[in-house]
């Protein structure tokens, strides 16, 4: 459909990356690209170094009072005094089409704290949580 992602090729970051779904090698949904981490190159241009995910990255982009609340609630729920948003290095990106495909499984990426908490503390305790839908 679209051109395969090529390392070093130029992408319109806002159009091709921001707000896209991140998918792992098993086809499982990881997160949305909520924000991008950029770095200055020596020649003065910006390059994308990582995809940032989670409420900590999303809140500032939603903006206003609601955005502020999203970040505040997220901070309150984290253990660390100064939590950082989930971070996926751009080196883990394998291809970009209607989604951003990464090369590592979602558990290995460690960006889904709330999912794990819900998994262990709520959903796994209900009988049938491991029932295979097929």
């Amino acid at each position: 459909m679209m051109g395969e992602y090529v390392a070093g090729r130029r992408y319109d970051a806002a159009l091709h990356l921001l707000d896209r779904q991140i998918v792992d090698p098993d086809g499982r949904l990881v997160a949305k690209v909520d924000e991008l981490e950029l770095a200055d190159r020596p020649d003065g241009r910006l390059v994308v170094t990582a995809l940032l995910t989670g409420p900590g990255a999303l809140g500032p982009r939603v903006g206003g009072r609601i955005g502020h609340w999203i970040v505040a609630i997220w901070r309150r729920l984290r253990i660390e005094p100064d939590p950082m948003p989930g971070r996926i290095d751009v080196a883990d990106v394998v291809s970009i089409d209607s989604a951003v495909h990464v090369g590592r499984r979602r558990r290995a990426l460690e960006v889904d704290g709330l999912e794990r908490w819900m998994h262990y503390n709520v959903v796994s305790r209900i009988p049938g949580a491991g029932h295979d839908p097929e």
Binding site: M1, M2, D19, R20, Q21, I22, R28, L29, V30, A31, K32, D34, T53, L58, R61, V62, G63, G64, I66, G67, D97, S98, A99, R106, L114, E115, R116, M118, H119, V122, V123, S124, I126, G128, A129, G130, H131, D132, P133, E134
Partner: protein, 409 residues
């Protein structure tokens, strides 16, 4: 042969799944007050839902991305969030109405007060969302929903003057007993009932659940273009049945029991029993669809794993949302709010929320970046644009009309 079977099954479940509590109550109410003078709205709504369901189904099959995933991508996080809150509120309201409808159907069948049925109905809906395979859920409730055909049989048995009915339907005018704002308020309500936003969230996410690809486009189109219009025929049959029984005596339909009365009058107990099965299946099926739609939309906005195609523990946040939505629904209904009133408001608020869903779909369906060669053709774009104008007009007119007519009184 297997393919033919799949297509037939798809069409049948689309017919049975088309009608929900909103369609039943609004059509019955409108029939009892306005006769068939608003059938043009049902026809307009059915064509509209076909246009947009086809578009969102095609987007899901080609790009693998369901509706709300794309809403956020196209509208950005800020407008997308506002859209999420508004769409969620409407879908949750519809979900509450559907669970209430299940309880009302059980009350009619058992004579046990519906409030006692609500916790049980809510739990049963959650259990299906938790455990039952997606395709099984779709097929069982879709096929059982076909029992609503009994309304068409009832209309035929009541032996109406067909030419009068046809005249009322084909030459719409405001009945002498009603004023124009009320007439148009119910026009908006009927339009909202036919085009409810959750149908699009559910349809496109269901496509991903069932792993549609480009090869399934023809099957999907057949289901939509044949199934939905036949579902619309069931809606009109309900309106026609209350037109024949209630309009001459000037009684307005306010309860689910009254919706079923024309069937009881013309076909007796057996007919009523079939109608009750239809009520149960239509509301229960739609409760599952709206409940899932709440989970789909929130998960798709935030990028969480969602869906019944994975084990529940692999989509933990999605299942927590489903659980919370069900508890909220039960709690709201236990305040003894009238489920029929909830339904009447849910269809009007659906009409208000329609542009939020339909505008992004139309944009993405035209984006070759997602769709490749399968972007909208001329017909889809012409119809899509016309409907965007209609949808906007209905949304803008809804609130003023609601205030002006005191919600249709």
């Amino acid at each position: 042969m297997r393919r033919l079977f799949a297509v037939a099954l798809g069409i049948l479940t689309a017919i049975g799944g088309f009608v929900d509590i909103g369609d039943m109550v609004t059509n019955a109410l409108v029939g009892s007050r306005f006769g068939l003078s608003l059938v043009w709205v049902v026809v307009t709504g059915v064509i509209g839902i076909c246009v947009f369901a086809e578009m969102s189904g095609r987007v899901a099959a080609i790009s693998g991305r369901p509706t709300f995933d794309l809403v956020r991508e196209r509208l950005g996080p800020r407008v997308g969030f506002a859209n999420l809150v508004a769409s969620m509120a409407v879908t949750l309201l519809t979900f509450i109405a559907e669970i209430g409808g299940v309880a009302l159907a059980l009350e009619l069948a058992s004579s046990v007060n519906y409030l006692l049925w609500i916790p049980l109905a809510g739990f049963a809906v959650w259990l299906v969302l938790w455990r039952v395979k997606f395709s099984l859920m779709e097929n069982v409730f879709g096929l059982l929903g076909l029992s609503l055909i009994v309304f068409a049989v009832a209309v035929w048995q009541l032996g109406p003057d067909w030419s009068t009915l046809w005249n009322d339907a084909s030459r719409p005018s405001v009945p002498a007993s009603e004023d124009a704002p009320t007439y148009f308020y119910y026009a908006v309500a009927l339009f909202g009932a036919a085009m409810t936003p959750y149908e699009v969230f559910f349809f496109s996410s269901g496509g991903v659940e069932e792993r549609w690809g480009p090869r399934d486009l023809t099957t999907m189109r057949t289901n939509v273009l044949v199934g939905f219009p036949l579902g619309g025929v069931l809606s009109v049959a309900i309106a026609a049945s209350t037109t024949l029984v209630f309009l001459p005596v000037g009684v307005q339909v306010d309860t689910l029991g009254q919706v079923g009365l024309p069937v009881a009058v013309s076909l007796g107990k057996m007919g009523l029993a079939v109608a009750l099965i239809g009520f149960f299946a239509a509301t229960f099926g739609a409760a599952c669809e709206t409940g899932l739609s709440v989970g789909y939309s929130i998960s798709q906005y935030f990028g969480w794993q969602w869906g019944k195609y994975v084990r529940p523990r692999e989509a933990a946040r999605f299942h927590v949302v489903l659980l919370l939505a069900t508890i909220t629904g039960i709690a709201v209904l236990l305040t003894t709010v009238d489920p029929i009133k909830v339904t009447e408001y849910s269809v009007v608020f659906s009409a208000i929320a329609l542009p939020l869903t339909y505008f992004p779909i139309l944009v993405v369906a035209n984006d070759p970046d997602y769709m490749g060669e399968k972007v909208n053709g001329r017909v889809a774009n012409a119809l899509g644009s016309v409907y965007l104008v209609i949808v906007l007009a209905a949304a803008l007119a809804a609130i003023p009309l609601m205030i002006l007519t005191k919600a249709g009184q």
